[in-house]
């Protein structure tokens, strides 16, 4: 299947990346090339194969339910583009 300009704009929007019309148009053949190439996976017989989620057998650990960090508000905020009164600041959101 191939993707068109509308689809590219939709993907960009889902990805939260603003693109100009010219950029989106340039991406149509690029993305189609790559997607056309990965589609060869469809020919592999995967009957009875479980999707792989972990490459090395490992179990997710549980740790003691205790506080191990915290009290580092200023360090957390240190790299924020805009921090005010101990919070991350963002443009006004009114729904």
């Amino acid at each position: 299947m191939s993707i068109d300009l509308q689809t590219v704009k939709k993907i960009a929007s889902l990805s939260r990346i603003s693109v100009t019309d010219a950029e989106a148009e340039a991406m149509v053949p690029e993305l189609n090339n790559i997607l056309g190439w990965v589609e060869q996976l469809g020919e592999v017989d995967v009957t009875g194969v479980e999707p792989m989620t972990a490459v090395i057998p490992n179990t997710l650990r549980l740790r003691e339910d205790v506080v191990t960090d915290g009290n580092v508000r200023d360090r957390v905020l240190a790299n924020a583009p805009q921090a005010e009164h101990g919070f991350f600041a963002v443009p006004k959101v009114i729904e």
Partner: protein
């Protein structure tokens, strides 16, 4: 050591030689750090570093010299300065992942792997350039400019060549003697391919050996840190320090770190080396093929038996990777939203959603955007099963191929990359042509296996070619030992002629 000739000799030493020479009193740690700092400062033309930290290198060196003078026990890497790929968060030192997005980002914490290295006494020469967010195979996607390989083709051809990627700053700096060793990270070949392009060695350990905590994430099920250096022994030394269980990484393996250096042996008697027939497709570069044949002979000479094996799903590894890695990247890079760290672009009157989209358009380069969008598409409603689930299933088959091959052998020998280094700009226009560079390295990444690149020789143009050794999960020792056997027989002493 006071004359300049001796200073330049210091930067020719390996990690092991620096460590041991410092202990023996042949030179001070400060002399070593100063010599490398001078080489770094004089190599701007390579653009290998994004940030230089000569003061950090001196600080660690002075601590080592003081400890030695006081007769205190010396740390394992006392006196050894190294380069740090700018994908590892370093407390108080800008960490960018070679992106505009993270320009100015100064972590308030230290990555586990870098902390282990500093705790072991190593000093930091600087933060090394890379492909943006580690996405690339030629170091041409960095926001801070291309890294230029110190190697040039013979015959007066001065074309700027790719140092490989994504760990291209690391590979260029090591081969140019700006640092004796460096960290790398490998998602689909980002340690091994740049090592091959610059005539050095590098190992990606088994997935889970090195903590991912504090490393800027690209594709979490594939990302692994590892060392890069000029010798196999140096890789063993550094990997011992970098590896180890970390409760802060949920996929970290809770296993003791083996004594890889002490157990190095190039005697391969009783070992079987598998040669995967799918890695020799029609049209494989004749010089690569010939080097591979020499590698096979070297391993036989070291006592190994050679058997042919089959990895039938090899041709599907790259397309599988280019679904899984972008899918994970699209999810991981969702964090760059202009709120918590990094750049923010807030156009006049923009709301929150507009700010996200503008910030990400500004902060990401074209290849990063391309991969995020591919990942978003293959994970989107209606396409998830056809692309992502299918890729995860094929990944299981690729891992099974290796398991079955390892019933017949103990390690695999292959070329590292399908060609020698290429000129900058040569493949930049065609993303697919660039992706094909990773054809021999991606399968082991998908299976989480330890894999190493070692120099195999030079091609007719005088450029390095690399051999790759792939081992069973957790068997880094056999990989290192086979690497050592090749290193002893290849006698690779070539180095780039200084032009920078």
């Amino acid at each position: 050591m006071s004359n300049p000739a001796d200073k330049s000799a210091l930067t020719d030493l390996t990690v092991a030689e620096i460590r041991d020479g410092f202990r023996a009193g042949d030179f001070s740690a400060r002399e070593v750090a100063e010599a490398f700092n001078a080489n770094v400062a004089a190599a701007k033309a390579l653009n290998a570093f994004i940030v230089e930290t000569p003061e950090k290198a001196l600080e660690a060196a002075d601590a080592a010299d003081r400890a030695k003078a006081a007769g205190e026990p010396l740390k394992p890497l006392a006196g050894v300065p190294i380069g740090m790929k700018d994908l590892f968060c370093t407390e108080g030192v800008q960490t960018t992942a070679a992106s505009h997005m993270l320009e100015g980002f100064t972590p308030t914490y230290e990555s586990t792997v870098s902390k282990k290295l500093w705790d072991a006494g190593a000093g930091m020469l600087g933060k090394l350039n890379l492909d943006q967010f580690a996405m690339g195979s030629s170091n041409e996607t960095s926001y801070y400019g291309n890294v230029i390989s110190p190697w040039r083709r013979g015959g007066g051809d001065n074309a700027a060549l790719a140092p490989g990627g994504s760990s291209g700053g690391s590979s260029a700096a090591i081969s140019a003697r700006l640092c004796p060793a460096a960290t790398g990270t490998d998602t689909g070949g980002s340690i091994r391919q740049p090592a091959a392009f610059t005539g050095i060695s590098g190992i990606k350990p088994t997935y889970g050996r090195c903590s991912r905590w504090g490393i800027v994430a690209f594709a979490s099920s594939l990302d692994q840190a590892g060392p890069m250096a000029r010798t196999v022994r140096d890789n063993a030394i550094l990997l011992e320090t970098m590896a180890g269980f970390d409760p802060k990484d949920s996929t970290s393996l809770d296993l003791a770190v083996p004594q890889w250096e002490a157990n190095l042996s190039s005697d391969l008697k009783g070992k079987k080396v598998g040669i995967p027939r799918e890695y020799r497709p029609d049209g494989l570069n004749a010089e690569i093929s010939a080097m591979w044949d020499r590698g096979i002979e070297w391993l036989k000479d070291a006592g190994a038996e050679v058997v042919e094996v089959s990895l039938p799903h090899t041709k599907y590894a790259l397309p599988t990777y280019y679904i899984i890695a972008p899918a994970e990247a699209s999810s991981n890079l969702a964090r760059y939203d202009g709120v918590r760290y990094g750049q923010r672009d807030l156009p006049d009157g923009a709301g929150l959603q507009d700010m996200y989209a503008a910030t990400r358009a500004l902060g990401f380069g074209p290849e990063v955007k391309r991969r995020i969008m591919i990942g978003t598409y293959v994970l989107s409603a209606g396409f998830y099963d056809a692309y992502y689930t299918q890729a995860q299933k094929v990944r299981a088959l690729i891992a099974r191929d290796f398991e079955q091959a390892f019933e017949k052998c103990d390690l695999l020998l292959t070329p590292t990359a399908p060609s020698a280094s290429f000129a900058l700009g040569e493949k930049q226009a065609d993303p697919l042509a660039m992706y094909l560079n990773d054809v021999f390295t991606v399968p082991a990444s998908l299976a989480g296996l330890p894999a190493m690149a070692v120099p195999g020789g030079l091609d007719a143009q005088g450029l390095p070619l690399g051999l790759q050794i792939v081992g069973k999960a957790l068997d880094e020792q056999t990989v290192l030992n086979a690497g050592l056997a090749i290193e002893e027989r290849a006698g690779f002493t070539a180095r780039p002629e200084k032009w920078w």
